[in-house]
């Protein structure tokens, strides 16, 4: 979770401590569509995996990301 929080904090420019599963594009102003792509790109690099386009379009919240990574066998 630490690595994931670090990515989100960097891209969204928020404090790591403020990030929870509920953090999403609904409640964080800086979480726009381009930053979603950047989060995906960072995740792919850091966790060495590739998301499918279906997964990518459904990324809206931290919980979504965690579910996807879990499906990819990434242990957070």
């Amino acid at each position: 979770m630490k690595k994931l929080k670090k990515i989100l904090a960097k891209v969204l420019e928020v404090k790591e401590s403020s990030i929870t599963d509920k953090t999403s594009s609904e409640n964080v102003l800086s979480w726009d569509s381009f930053n979603t792509l950047m989060i995906i790109s960072e995740i792919e690099t850091v966790f060495n995996t590739k998301l499918t386009i279906q997964e990518a379009v459904n990324v809206k919240s931290v919980k979504d990301i965690k579910d996807i990574l879990k499906n990819h066998g990434v242990v957070l």
Binding site: E13, V46, A56
Partner: protein, 609 residues
């Protein structure tokens, strides 16, 4: 400038790895820029015209430029608007006055449906279609180059790896793949003839990364990104090859270690028979490395040796080793001794007459590299790999020696420096400086600016740092404008002596303002400093000014970190200080009061002057 330093400090420690890191640094840079209210005139202006979303590329270029100490300002047009930006002469692009334009149309945008369904049309139709596209692109490039004085970096097109025809593709009369190769080759021909336009070989760039990898299909469908985010920074770094020479940040001299750098092993221990160099598995990496360095020498890079060795061992190896490619006469300076490497580099700089900031240092020892990095941070130190089989690849990737033109002077530079060594020996045996200058039998040839000398004159303004009164940098196009303007008097001087031809090594640009003439540029290449050539040039200007009834000749001096050799020139030659404003000095020479003669020991020739 403090603002530059603040940015440099923030950036120099950062090692951005992912595009997210670049975005973060980019934001920091923009914040500092905003807080410091840096004047827009002092910024380097980069325009990005892409046919697809360029998000991320600006950020990566910004960070990479700031690392070099260059603060850029950007114009990034909307990506569907590039044609309008170019064709509308009142567009924001032209108001922005870019120094460089990175212009990138990708093949999918250019071909449209014909990219995805190439065989819906016949070979003949395809030929016509491609010809139309070539004309379209040429027109954009022509318009762009007419309306800005910027260097234009145009990307060629990625040649696809797949065709719906599969193995039959190559049997088509004018196939899909061939049509894109044709497009590239026609545009290459066009660019060759248009000096402000440079080619970025994007097809080769994408091959190097891998055409299967460079497009991130998902990001392409999600956001029309045609280059994967992870490669945006790689692309930005490649752009530095075009930015460095524009800002005179190119390097001139390659300083080389010897043992385990130019050959394998240690000459002092292994002897001439023992070192590894030549057509064996272990000797080849060094052999080919030397061959490549010789190519750099031939394009005008100055070579020097900085080695801890006994000079006799080394000289024997350079002279007698059957596979030695680089010989004594290729090196402008050879520091082979047991002194420390830092003093040796300083000695090389002094001998050749260039600044250490113009040097690239290559040494296999990490310790030596670290010492140089710490003592002389302005020297570019190449991180050589442990494995000598990667030496060639490493040196091929150095982008510091780029120039926008290659002149006769560049290709002959090697010979000129060996003549310089002989000249030096001659000076040491001469009784005094006057006798030396007299016996050199110097001949100075004046030539009024013309199409043949324009590239060299522009190059001199871009590269000369020491004997340069104003250090104004001009592009070919600007010199051409001067040459066509009656109010400018521009000439170059060629310097020959009994040791050889130094080529065009001095130039002056004078603006005629009625009875007052202002010397805008007055410079001499470091190779010919201290030989009274500057007096000959001044005498020529004064002679011409008198002929045209001028009253006052105005000389300007703008001090820089490097031009102290020029600082007393006007003072010592009959000019009076007329004005001093901070860094700027204005000197007047009254033609009715003072006189100035040609030095009598130099022969003058005039060509078309």
């Amino acid at each position: 400038m403090p603002d530059r330093d603040t940015i440099k400090n923030v950036i120099s420690e950062a090692e951005p790895k992912t595009i997210g890191d670049y975005f973060l640094l980019d934001k920091k840079i923009e914040e500092i820029k905003k807080n410091q209210e840096i004047e827009s005139e002092s910024l380097f202006k980069i325009a990005i015209l892409f046919s697809f979303t360029a998000k991320g590329i600006k950020e990566a270029i910004n960070v990479e430029c700031c690392k070099l100490g260059v603060i850029p300002e950007f114009f990034a047009g909307d990506y569907k608007q590039y044609a309008q930006d170019i064709l509308n002469k009142n567009s924001e692009l032209y108001r922005f006055k870019p120094n460089v334009v990175f212009f990138f149309i990708d093949i999918k945008s250019l071909f449209g449906e014909n990219f995805f369904s190439p065989y819906q049309i016949s070979n003949e139709e395809r030929k016509r279609f491609v010809e139309e596209k070539i004309e379209e692109v040429k027109k954009l490039l022509q318009t762009l180059s007419k309306r800005t004085s910027a260097k234009i970096v145009f990307h060629n097109f990625e040649v696809p790896c797949h065709s719906p025809l599969g193995i039959l593709e190559s049997k088509e009369k004018f196939g899909f793949i061939e049509s894109i190769e044709y497009l590239n080759s026609e545009l290459r021909k066009f660019i060759k003839l248009n000096s402000p336009i440079f080619l970025f070989d994007y097809n080769s760039f994408s091959s190097r990364i891998g055409k299967d990898k460079i497009l991130d299909h998902k990001m392409y469908y999600l956001a029309d990104m045609k280059i994967g985010m992870e490669y945006l920074a790689t692309l930005a770094k490649e752009y530095l090859s075009y930015i460095k020479p524009l800002l005179s940040l190119s390097k001139k001299c390659l300083v080389l270690d010897l043992d385990n750098t130019l050959w394998g092993g240690i000459i002092g221990e292994d002897g001439i028979e023992g070192i590894k160099l030549g057509p064996t598995s272990e000797g080849m990496p060094f052999w080919e490395f030397q061959k490549y360095i010789l190519e750099l020498f031939n394009r005008g890079v100055i070579l020097a040796i900085n080695s801890s060795n006994n000079p006799d061992d080394v000289l024997k190896a350079l002279r007698e080793h059957p596979y030695m490619i680089l010989k004594e006469n290729h090196f402008a300076s050879m520091q082979i001794n047991w002194n420390d490497k830092v003093s040796n580099i300083k000695k090389i700089a002094e001998e050749i007459g260039i600044d250490v900031s113009s040097m690239v240092f290559i040494d296999d020892s990490q310790v030596n590299r670290q010492i140089i990095k710490e003592a002389l941070p302005e020297v570019t130190v190449v991180d050589m790999p442990e494995d000598s089989s990667l030496y060639l690849k490493t040196i091929m990737e150095i982008d510091d020696f780029n120039t926008f033109s290659l002149t006769v002077e560049d290709t002959k530079r090697g010979q000129m420096y060996s003549a310089q060594r002989e000249r030096k020996k001659f000076q040491e045996t001469s009784g005094n400086i006057d006798e030396y200058l007299k016996n050199l039998n110097t001949v100075v040839t004046f030539e009024k600016v013309n199409n043949f000398t324009i590239p060299r004159i522009a190059q001199l303004t871009q590269k000369t740092n020491q004997f340069n009164m104003t250090t104004k940098r001009y592009l070919d196009t600007e010199i051409k404008n001067f040459s066509e303007n009656e109010n400018y008097f521009v000439f170059s001087v060629k310097v020959e002596d009994k040791f050889g031809d130094n080529g065009i090594t001095g130039t002056a640009v004078i603006e005629k303002q009625g009875k007052e003439w202002r010397i805008d540029i007055f410079l001499l290449s470091c190779r010919v400093i201290g030989r009274a050539i500057e007096k000959v040039m001044l005498a020529r200007i004064i002679e011409q000014a008198k002929k045209e009834g001028v009253k006052t000749l105005i000389g300007e001096f703008i001090p820089t970190a490097k031009n102290s050799p020029a600082k007393d020139f006007y003072k010592d030659n009959g000019f009076k200080l007329a004005e001093k404003k901070e860094e700027f000095q204005k000197w007047n020479f009254e033609l009715s009061v003072s006189n100035f003669n040609y030095p009598d020991f130099i022969k003058i020739k005039n060509e078309k002057a």
